[in-house]
Amino acid sequence: MAEVNMEQLLNCALCPNMCRCECPALQATGREAVAPAGKGRLAALINEGKLNWDEAMLEAASYCLACRGCTIHCPFSELNLCDELLFSRMPARPQGVTLPQVDPYLNNLRKYSSPYGQKSDPVIKTNRPGERAGGEEVIFFNGCTSLANHPPSIEAAASVLLKAGVSFRMTEEDCCGYPALVWGDRELGRQLAEENKRKFAESGATLLVTNCPECWLTFSEYYPDLEQELSLEIIDGPSYFLRLIKEGRLELKEPDPGSSGELGAGVISYHDPCIWARTAGTISEPREILQAIPGLELNEAQPSGSLTRCCGGGSMFQLAFPDTAAAVASRRLKEFPSEAALVTACPFCREGLLQEDRPVLELVEILDRYFK
């Protein structure tokens, strides 16, 4: 795994927290220790041997939702604080310092290759036998969170791909390894990466479409660090679906009667998942899809696009720190027009935003409804 960049981490440790307004961890808790430069300072002092890991330090350094909100105002273009924190945390576990609440999830990950435990394999149900023959071009990777929490989005994705005539496979997924990395079990993360890389290679597919932004980030940014760089092209879900529309493989259809029920008057707001917006740069793609649908009116959150704010789901927070995750989500929910139904393109965001009565749909579900 990449080394900590001490020069950049020290830049942060010595900064007066010029991005603190954008840090959801700080805004939800008020704790200086979890302010960006607060975390940066603790991590820098630990890396320099001036402080030691203990559970409170590890918790503070883990209080990062990996939203990269801090990069918006950061004067240091080479600084990626959430990665510096992630790399800094790696030595804690070998030193016997861990977050006890994540242990059950890590055990699940070791046993079932999913932090959520035994997978009920909805893939079998959705991926019709014909498409399991091998030799498919596309692997559609749903991610553990969809599998565990919201199988309808997987069914919707499979349905859309079938409509578009894509030769795809939904593998019996192993976790991408992100939770292991976030929680400091590098070896487990590496093993999962190796396993995924092997499966992808064996499949012969040339394109990996990821529905979950955190999987995308792990495949594209952390696998190379783990020396498991993938040889197939990796693309995010929204960009891929737009590609299918532009290629004429998906066309608008009259929605089935009653299917737009929860969308009410058709006013929707798209919540940009942080990773799609700030790391992948996927901002216009989902909007192009949504704006093409007659009867839907897109009303933006303030802020949105590259300035979007976290829903509380980043960095496995919903599992490790559920109360803070909920507090972050409720702050974000105030930033949407009050009458809008929400659409997003991330299983964690969907989960996080589902706090109120208002409907929250995934982009794939909208696609399935309005395209043939």
Partner: protein, 487 residues
């Protein structure tokens, strides 16, 4: 397990049994999750952006540690926390966002640090009366963002906008970059709600002006946590400006620039931003202008017709002093870069010491104070650069903002103390006031007798009356001597 921390300014600590008792009660007041005595929280709430803290951070030492941090969410909780601390004689340090530049949040005698960040709501937006009532822990940028959404501005843009709180502004008498039009924070503060050490909650009337005796709530303005805790404030707001006019000029001499500003302020114009840089800073901030001339940056905003008229008057005044127009692009550049202070981190990392010292002058000594302070700072061995600009102006004078960078060979703290000693002496000799907006904190306390004369005794009497047990932010504002931080 607690780790051994070296502290350099810790004067004393409260007996642990007393703190444990307090923590147990505090947990009942704010909830178990809203207190902490873990090392990560104590180490993080012990410091602000005082450069001495950055020097110590590189050495792995801490100024002084609190023994508990509490995060109240309501005024009633603050009241209970304070009353209890008062009863137990536990020192209390209010904490906003820790952007203070002078060690104001360093808990010299341990005790409890009360972090206000969870008091972060806008309580009332009163559009008719152009007032907003806001809790003190709200972050500056989020405050402005929320006002903007409703079509208003708070008009307060310190460079620390994104890293400071409303309460910190009020407690330090902060100034924003747009202060010439909108005023300093004390000009925006119509009334404050505050809690005294004995738990008394009081607030002032939310009316434009009163003549019913001194405004006791305004006593808290600039009190830097030594008298009580500001829990909310009613501030003036403005509709978002209809028009913005940007202009920049250059002068051959700094004095001509100062004279030009004096003239347009005397004529009654109130541009929002007025910044006049010496040659060195002109070269640093606007390389295309070189370092031979002095740049003046202006931003005028508000009602479109008024803006046009002000721009015309100002143009006449500055040209009468030999200004050359340099266009709007330098102001745009400044607007874009005005919150970027990355260079400070890099310099500290490379072993440099950097600080900014802001003082207030009248027109008669605005230039001579600059010369005297620059001389003084450059005279300290190790100083590489001492430059200045005027950042806030008034009909009667201007704030002078000096920046100093040094690479001291030996002990950095000794060098740092020398810088301040000589700069403050020069400022005093010129008759300027010791601070325009950063406040006093711990460090400037050393010069408060020179600043206030017999007024300091009056201030001490007020402190004794409101805080007889002396629990509020001990050692700050020059109200008592701090043994470990002497000249």
């Amino acid at each position: 397990m607690a780790q051994d921390m070296r502290t350099v300014l810790q004067e004393s600590r409260v007996e642990q049994a007393v703190m444990d008792r307090y923590a147990a009660e505090a947990a009942k007041i704010v909830g178990e999750n809203n207190i902490s005595a873990n090392q990560a929280d104590l180490l993080s709430a012990c410091r602000d952006y005082w450069p001495a803290n950055s020097i110590w951070m590189r050495e792995g030492v801490f100024p002084a540690l609190p023994q508990l941090v509490a995060w109240p969410k309501t005024t009633a909780q603050v009241s209970k926390l304070l009353a209890l601390a008062n009863q137990e004689k536990i020192p209390v340090t209010p904490y906003g966002e820790g952007s203070g530049a002078l060690g104001g949040v360093v808990p010299l005698r341990g005790g409890v640090t009360i972090d206000l960040k969870l008091m972060n709501k806008i309580r009332v937006l009163d559009e008719r009366n152009l007032l907003v009532t806001v809790e003190s822990g709200l972050n500056g940028a989020l405050y402005e963002e929320e006002l903007n959404r409703a079509g208003y501005t708070g008009g307060h843009f310190p460079q620390s906008l994104r890293c400071s709180s409303v309460g910190g502004w009020l407690a330090c008498r902060a100034a924003g970059q747009f202060s010439t039009r909108y005023g300093k924070i004390e000009d925006m503060a119509v009334s404050l709600e505050a809690v005294l050490p004995d738990g008394t909650v009081f607030s002032g009337r939310k009316v434009p002006r009163t003549a019913t005796g001194p405004r006791v709530d305004h006593l808290l303005l600039g009190s830097e946590g030594t008298l009580g805790i500001i829990t909310s404030a009613t501030l003036r707001i403005w509709p978002l400006p209809e028009k913005r006019h940007l202009a920049s000029y250059t002068f051959e001499k700094l004095e001509s620039g100062l004279e030009a500003i004096r003239l347009f302020m005397r004529a009654g114009t109130r541009p929002a931003v007025v910044r006049l840089y010496d040659g060195q800073e002109t070269g640093n901030h606007f390389p295309e202008l070189g370092d031979k001339r002095c740049a003046l940056i202006l931003l005028i905003e508000g009602n479109a017709r008024l803006v046009d008229a002000e721009a015309e008057v100002i143009d006449d005044c500055v040209r009468s002093e030999g200004a050359e127009s340099a266009g709007a692009e330098h102001v745009e550049h400044w607007l874009e870069k005005r919150f970027n202070i990355g260079v400070a981190s890099m310099l500290f990392q490379k072993g440099a010491v950097l600080d900014t010292i802001e003082v207030t002058t009248n027109w008669h000594n605005a230039y001579t104070t600059y010369l005297a302070m620059q001389d003084a700072l450059l005279g300290v061995e190790g100083t590489m650069l001492a430059s200045g600009h005027y950042s806030h102006v008034y009909p009667e004078g201007a704030a002078l903002y000096m920046t100093v960078v040094g690479f001291p060979g030996g002990d950095k703290i000794s060098y740092y103390k020398k810088l301040w000693q000589t700069a403050m002496e020069a400022c005093h000799k010129e008759g300027a006031a010791f601070s325009h907006h950063h406040g006093v904190g711990l460090h400037r306390g050393l010069w408060m007798t020179d600043e206030h004369g017999s007024g300091l005794e009056v201030l001490k009497k007020i402190k004794d009356a409101l805080d007889p047990e002396g629990i509020m932010n001990p050692g700050k504002l020059g109200l008592e001597e701090v043994q470990l931080w002497q000249k």
